[in-house]
C-alpha cells in the first residue's frame, strides 16, 4: 500500500515535470498586473545592466544607471504616486521576453524595439525613444556604412535576441553575424578583433564610443528603432497607465530633461532631435 502510494506520487511528479518542460503550463500573467503593483506599491522592471546611457551597472555603488532606468523610475512615480517603488531586475536581450512572460518582471524597459514579430507575443506601450540602427567600428576602419559589410568574409557582431541582428541579416546578407551574450561581451569581442563592426542601435553605440575613444559610430542610421515598454498581453490597464505617464512626462518637460541628462554631452549625437 505504502509502496503504491509512493509510486503514484512519483508518477504525478514526473507527469507534472513533463508538463512544465513541454510548456503546456498555464501562463501566470493572467492576473491584473496594475492592481497587484498598486497593492504592493512596487513595479518590477527588467532593465539592461551592460549598456551605457540606457542601463549600466555602476561599480562604485552597485546601482544600475541610465536613461531606461530613469524613465522607469519616473513612470513608476506617475503611476503609483511619489512613494511608489521601482524594483530593477537585470535582463539581457535573450532573457527579457521569457522573464516577462513568466511574470518575474512586470514590464521591460531595456532598449527594446517595437517590432511586429514581438507584438505577437507581448504588448508595447507607445514609443518612448527614437533610435535607429548603426555601426561601431575601430578608428581608421575602412567601413563607412552598412553596404560595406555586405561581402562574404566579413564578420559582424551583435547580441543574441536583439532586433539589430535580424536587421543586419537583411541589409548585409553576405556578412557572417556572430551573436554574443550581451553588449559588454560584444564590445570586448570587437576589441579582440572577432568582428569588423558591432551593430545595434545608435544610442547604445554612442554610449560605447564615449567610453572607448578608439572607436567611432559610422554610417548614420539605416533603420528606425522606436523603443517601447513591453508588457504582457492582456494587461491593457497597465499599458494605458504607462502611455499616460509617458505623455505626462513629455508635456511637463521631464522627458526632455532626461534626454538632456543622458544624451546632452555625447559627442556626435544631436540630442535636440530626440526632444519631444
Amino acid at each position: 500500500m505504502k509502496k503504491q502510494f509512493r509510486l503514484a506520487t512519483l508518477l504525478v511528479a514526473l507527469g507534472a515535470l513533463m508538463l512544465t518542460l513541454s510548456g503546456c503550463g498555464k501562463s501566470l500573467s493572467q492576473q491584473d498586473v496594475l492592481q497587484n503593483d498598486r497593492k504592493a506599491n512596487t513595479i518590477t522592471w527588467g532593465v539592461k545592466a551592460d549598456t551605457k546611457l540606457f542601463g549600466l551597472m555602476d561599480v562604485r555603488d552597485n546601482q544600475i544607471k541610465g536613461f531606461d532606468v530613469d524613465m522607469a523610475k519616473h513612470i513608476t512615480r506617475h503611476i503609483l504616486g511619489k512613494k511608489g517603488k521601482a524594483k530593477f531586475i537585470q535582463v539581457t536581450s535573450q532573457s527579457r521576453i521569457p522573464l516577462l512572460k513568466n511574470g518575474n518582471i512586470d514590464a521591460i524597459i531595456a532598449t527594446m524595439t517595437i517590432t511586429p514579430q514581438r507584438e505577437k507575443v507581448v504588448s508595447f506601450s507607445n514609443s518612448y525613444f527614437d533610435a535607429g540602427q548603426s555601426l561601431l567600428v575601430p578608428n581608421g576602419s575602412k567601413i563607412k556604412n552598412v553596404s560595406d559589410l555586405n561581402k562574404s568574409g566579413t564578420t559582424v557582431l551583435g547580441v543574441v535576441g536583439a532586433n539589430s541582428v535580424q536587421n543586419i541579416k537583411k541589409f548585409a546578407p553576405k556578412a557572417r553575424v556572430l551573436e554574443l551574450q550581451d553588449y559588454a561581451q560584444a564590445l570586448t569581442s570587437l576589441k579582440a578583433g572577432q568582428g569588423v563592426a558591432l551593430t545595434t542601435d545608435n544610442g547604445i553605440l554612442y554610449g560605447m564610443a564615449v567610453q572607448n575613444p578608439g572607436f567611432k559610430v559610422v554610417g548614420g542610421t539605416f533603420t528606425r528603432e522606436p523603443y517601447g515598454v513591453a508588457v504582457n498581453k492582456g494587461q491593457k490597464p497597465f499599458t494605458n497607465e504607462v502611455n499616460k505617464a509617458i505623455k505626462e512626462m513629455e508635456a511637463d518637460g521631464e522627458y526632455n530633461q532626461l534626454i538632456k541628462k543622458w544624451f546632452g554631452n555625447v559627442p556626435g549625437f544631436n540630442y535636440k532631435e530626440l526632444e519631444r
Binding site: 512544465t20 518542460l21 513541454s22 510548456g23 536581450s93 535573450q94 521576453i97 521569457p98 514579430q117 514581438r118 505577437k120 507575443v121 543574441v160 535576441g161 535580424q166 556572430l178 551573436e179 554574443l180 551574450q181 561581451q185 570586448t188 569581442s189 576589441k191 579582440a192 578583433g193 572577432q194
Partner: protein, 212 residues
C-alpha cells in the same frame, strides 16, 4: 517541439555537427596532452613532476568559462586571432586534459610496478616500456572513465555558446530568441544532447560492470 524541429532543422544539424566536432577534437588532444602530463607525474624527475602537478592543479581549479573566454577575448587582443569555435575547443582541451591526466595517472599506477622493472630488465628504455607495456594496460583500465569524460566534453561544449561557437546551445539561444518559444527550443536541443550522451554513458556503465 515539432514545429521547431521542422522549421529549424538546418540550424540544429549545423549545431550538432559543431558540437560533435569540438568534442571529438578536444577528446583527441586532451588525451594526448593528458597522457603526457600523466607520464610526467610518474617519472623520477622532480622537475617534470612539479610542472605536471602545477598544470593539473591550475586547470582543474579554474572554471571552463574563464579559460574559454580568455582564449576568445584576451589572446586575439595581444597574440593571435582565434575564432569562437577554436577558442572554445582549446579551452575544452586544456580543461579536460587536466582531468584526463589524473585518470590516466591512476591507470598507470594501478599497473603492477613489477612490469616496468621487468621491461627495463629486458633492455627496454623507460619510454619504450611506458608506451609498449604500461600504457596499453593502463588505457584498458581507464576506458570507462575516459568514456565518461567524453560525455562531460559533449555537455561542457555548450560553453561554446558564450563565444559564438555555432554549437547546439548557440543555435538553441538563437532559435529561442527568434521563435520566442524558449522552453520548446531548449527541449529540442536537450533531446539532441541526450541522443549523444545517453548511449555512451550507458555503454560505459556496462563496460565498467564487465571489467569489475
Amino acid at each position: 517541439m515539432i514545429t521547431i524541429l521542422s522549421d529549424h532543422w538546418q540550424e540544429l544539424l549545423t549545431g550538432l555537427g559543431w558540437t560533435l566536432l569540438s568534442s571529438v577534437l578536444a577528446l583527441i588532444f586532451s588525451l594526448i596532452i593528458g597522457s603526457l602530463f600523466a607520464i610526467m607525474e610518474v617519472t623520477e624527475s622532480k622537475v617534470a613532476r612539479t610542472i605536471a602537478r602545477i598544470y593539473i592543479e591550475i586547470f582543474r581549479n579554474i572554471p571552463l568559462l574563464v579559460i574559454t573566454s580568455f582564449f576568445y577575448l584576451v589572446i586575439p587582443m595581444y597574440v593571435v586571432k582565434v575564432n569562437g569555435f577554436t577558442a572554445g575547443t582549446i579551452g575544452l582541451t586544456i580543461y579536460t586534459s587536466a582531468f584526463i591526466a589524473e585518470t590516466v595517472r591512476s591507470g598507470i599506477q594501478s599497473v603492477d610496478p613489477g612490469q616496468m622493472e621487468g621491461a627495463r630488465a629486458n633492455g627496454l628504455t623507460f619510454w619504450q616500456a611506458m608506451s609498449n607495456v604500461i600504457l596499453p594496460q593502463a588505457f584498458r583500465l581507464v576506458i570507462p572513465p575516459l568514456g565518461n569524460q567524453f560525455v562531460n566534453l559533449v555537455k561542457n561544449s555548450s560553453v561554446l555558446a558564450f563565444v559564438a561557437g555555432f554549437d547546439l546551445m548557440y543555435q538553441a539561444n538563437n532559435i529561442a530568441s527568434i521563435t520566442f518559444d524558449t522552453i520548446n527550443s531548449y527541449m529540442v536541443v536537450g533531446v539532441l544532447y541526450l541522443i549523444i550522451t545517453m548511449p555512451i554513458s550507458y555503454y560505459m556503465r556496462y563496460l565498467e560492470k564487465r571489467l569489475a
